[in-house]
């Protein structure tokens, strides 16, 4: 039932997996340290996102082999994220609007 092309079987040296594994540890530690040193505001925000994206990228590209996949599947998997990004953008604006309306019209802390 499945395709059986032995030629396409790709194995990678064990080293690359161990490297990525180590990097994931390091970046997880970094993102933990963001909390440990209690960074706040924009710095915290950007550092968290930065480490998160790096880790996600490493897992997807190496562990999930996306780096070695053909563009057809990579594009198919990544483009739909645009819809999510639009959703995020809209909901950011929406929740800000909700917050301001509430702060303007409602008593807080009752």
């Amino acid at each position: 039932m499945e395709q059986n092309n032995k030629k396409t079987t790709s194995t990678h040296s064990i080293g690359i997996y161990l490297w990525i594994w180590g990097l994931l540890f390091v970046f997880s530690t970094f993102s933990y340290l963001v909390d440990w040193y209690n960074f706040q505001g924009l710095l915290r925000w950007s550092l968290i996102i930065f480490f998160m994206l790096i880790k996600a990228g490493l897992i997807m590209s190496i562990f999930m082999h996306l780096y070695w996949e053909r563009w057809a599947i990579v594009n198919v998997l990544l483009w739909p994220m645009t819809a999510i990004m639009v959703f995020v953008a809209i909901m950011t604006a929406e929740s800000k609007y909700t917050f301001f309306t509430r702060a303007l019209f409602f008593v807080t802390g009752v």
Partner: protein, 608 residues
């Protein structure tokens, strides 16, 4: 395509020589990239007809279940119409019953009938046949998908029998009212509805993965994406939309179930209802609406896109002409699908969301009108200079065009944010969406059933009954929904149990009675259709092979109806698109997809 890469492609693609003179191409086809699919052949009655792994049987199972539940939806609509046309005549219809009917009618028709019928029914039956595969890629998962759907339907039906009855929250299930005591069915009904929807999503995901992977990875040799029938394009895009849109519904269902059962405050702000504080804090009802419509708008196209695809094929076959602008049609389907994810909040113009969203969503919504209009133009341009057989599928296709154009242009009213303000939540909306995603897709479904019934059963449906069915359904449905727009202009809100004591609404009485009578007539005509199907399945006129002289692969199986595994010993090899009708330079009126260019050397076909 660049020639240097043609080592793996069929030679015909490279044969479009630049010199301009047509050179008959060689037919050599490289061997398959994918090994022969192993199939589980049924050994007993149970595995052959009940727990069957054959996509064709699963498709019929889906279709029958969806039709059965759709009939319930139809009967519910009669109750609503009786109340609206002749209020205070029928004592069994109280406001609670009325709202429960409205809700269940909407949900059944949109999700359990149309989605399941187009994707589960037509999708399962047609995809493997039309792309030249033996079966779906995961027959077992496909079977489980149907059984999940059946369980979802049973859970839904069971809500009619629980204390408090089914939910009456409207098909949009907006919280807070969906789970507060002021709404009928807020005890068990809403929970069962949410559970049923979640099960439907899970079951559909199993099926949907099958459809997508079968189309992407299991086509036969020569079947490039740009040679697939538009039916497949429609179903494919709709399935992709469903796989990406249903998650939002699933999440919304989970969160509302928790709000209901555990008393969380996802969608529940501070609420003072029926004289007491509810104790919830800080939630946002608008969040639910965003999630719901992030699912709900693509859902409209989940229903519409397969209809677009199927109707293109019906028109082309029965007008004996290639579909006009195939590439445009494909791109239009894909663009509509992609855009459908960024227009959802046009259902929420009056919901109290951030008012500046109106600009963005009105713009994106009206942009969708462009590819949609192109599709309409291409359908009528396909008729132009065709040779139109007014068969029943063709009649239904024509009916589709009229109802769809009508419903589509009223969509331009509602999509344009400022016009939506007076019209939203009135009968204008009801008329609009029934026209565009009720009647129009149903026209296609009927046409498709008349078209493919010979393939499924080996017999024709009765033509006379079919014509009666068409004319009553089409004219009747048009008579129901066209005048209904004007109720909306007066300002009659939807979901009103009765409304006649308003001074300026009394004018609508006669119109409402007319609509009710028309609706009952159209509804009862469907019994004629069911009789036709059941009777013809056993006693209908025997059909010869390929009765409509179509080109696509499903008509060219060794047996008709096709056996398990679809295509005999060898899978067909495809050399052309399915629209080579009336090709010049050759006597044959049509050239099926698997006819090699060497068999029709004089045909002046264009490259596909």
């Amino acid at each position: 395509m660049d020639n240097e890469y043609n080592n793996n492609k069929i030679e015909t693609k490279a044969a479009d020589s630049s010199s301009g003179s047509y050179v008959p191409p060689a037919d050599n086809i490289p061997a398959s990239e994918i090994p022969e699919q192993e199939l589980y052949h049924a050994k007993s009655f149970w595995t052959r007809w009940v727990f069957c792994q054959d996509a064709k049987v699963i498709g019929v199972q889906y279709a029958l279940t969806a039709t059965a539940v759709g009939l319930i939806g139809l009967v519910l609509s009669w109750g609503m119409r009786l109340q609206l046309g002749f209020p205070e005549t029928f004592s069994f219809l109280g406001p609670a019953t009325y709202y429960q009917s409205v809700t269940m009618h909407g949900m059944i028709m949109v999700v359990y009938l149309l989605t399941a019928l187009f994707l589960g029914g037509f999708g399962n039956y047609l995809i493997p046949l039309m792309v030249g595969a033996r079966d779906m890629v995961f027959p077992y998962l496909n079977m489980v998908s149907f059984w999940m759907f059946l369980v979802a339907v049973l859970v839904l039906i069971s809500s009619f029998f629980v204390p408090g009855g089914p939910t009456g929250a409207g098909w949009t299930l907006y919280p807070p009212q969906a789970i507060l005591p002021g709404t009928p069915g807020s005890e068990m009904g809403i929970v069962l509805m949410l559970v049923s929807l979640s099960l439907f999503v899970i079951g559909f995901t199993m099926g949907g993965l099958n459809y997508v992977i079968t189309i992407l990875q299991a086509r036969t040799r020569g079947m490039t994406l740009m040679r697939m029938p538009l039916t497949i394009w429609g179903i494919f895009t709709a399935t992709v939309l469903a796989l990406l849109a249903f998650p939002a519904l699933f999440v919304a269902c989970i969160m509302m179930t928790l709000d209901n059962l555990l008393g969380t405050s996802f969608f529940m702000p501070e609420i003072f209802t029926m004289g007491e504080q509810l104790g919830t804090t800080g939630g946002s009802p608008i969040l639910f609406q965003h999630l719901f419509w992030f699912f709900g708008h693509p859902e409209v196209y989940i229903v519409a896109l397969p209809a677009f695809g199927i109707v293109s094929d019906l028109i082309s076959v029965h007008a004996r002409k290639n579909i006009f602008g195939y590439r445009m049609m494909v791109w239009a389907i894909v663009i509509i699908g992609a855009l459908s994810f960024v227009v959802w909040a046009h259902h929420m113009y009056v919901s109290g969301m951030n008012p500046y969203f109106g600009f963005f969503f009105a713009t994106t919504t009206l942009i969708i009108a462009v590819p949609t209009a192109i599709k309409v133009y291409n359908w009528v341009l396909t008729l132009w200079r065709g040779n139109i057989h007014l068969t029943i599928p063709m009649l239904f296709s024509l009916g589709f065009i009229v109802t769809f154009v009508n419903g589509g242009i009223t969509g331009l009213f509602l999509g344009n944010v400022i016009i939506d303000i007076p019209l939203s939540d009135t009968y204008f909306v009801v008329a609009h969406f029934h026209m565009v995603m009720g009647i129009a897709p149903l026209m296609v479904i009927f046409g498709a059933i008349y078209h493919w019934f010979p393939l499924i059963s080996g017999r024709h449906l009765n033509q006379t009954l079919g014509k009666i069915h068409f004319w009553i359904s089409f004219i009747g449905a048009y008579a129901i929904y066209f005048p209904m727009h004007y109720l909306g202009f007066i300002g009659v809100p939807r979901r009103y149990y009765e409304m006649y004591d308003s001074p300026y609404m009394t004018t609508g009485v006669g119109l409402n009675q007319f609509i009710t009578v028309a609706a009952l007539i159209v509804g009862f005509t469907q019994i004629l259709f069911l009789y036709n199907i059941i009777h013809s399945a056993f006693y209908g006129e025997k059909s010869e092979k390929n009765p409509w002289k179509a080109n696509s692969l499903e008509w060219h199986t060794p047996e008709m109806p096709p056996a398990h595994g679809n295509f005999g010993k060898d899978l067909p090899v495809v050399y052309r698109w399915p629209y080579d009708f009336s090709v010049p330079g050759i006597d044959r009126e049509y050239i099926p997809q698997h006819v090699a260019p060497s068999e029709v050397p004089t045909a002046k076909v264009e490259k596909t």
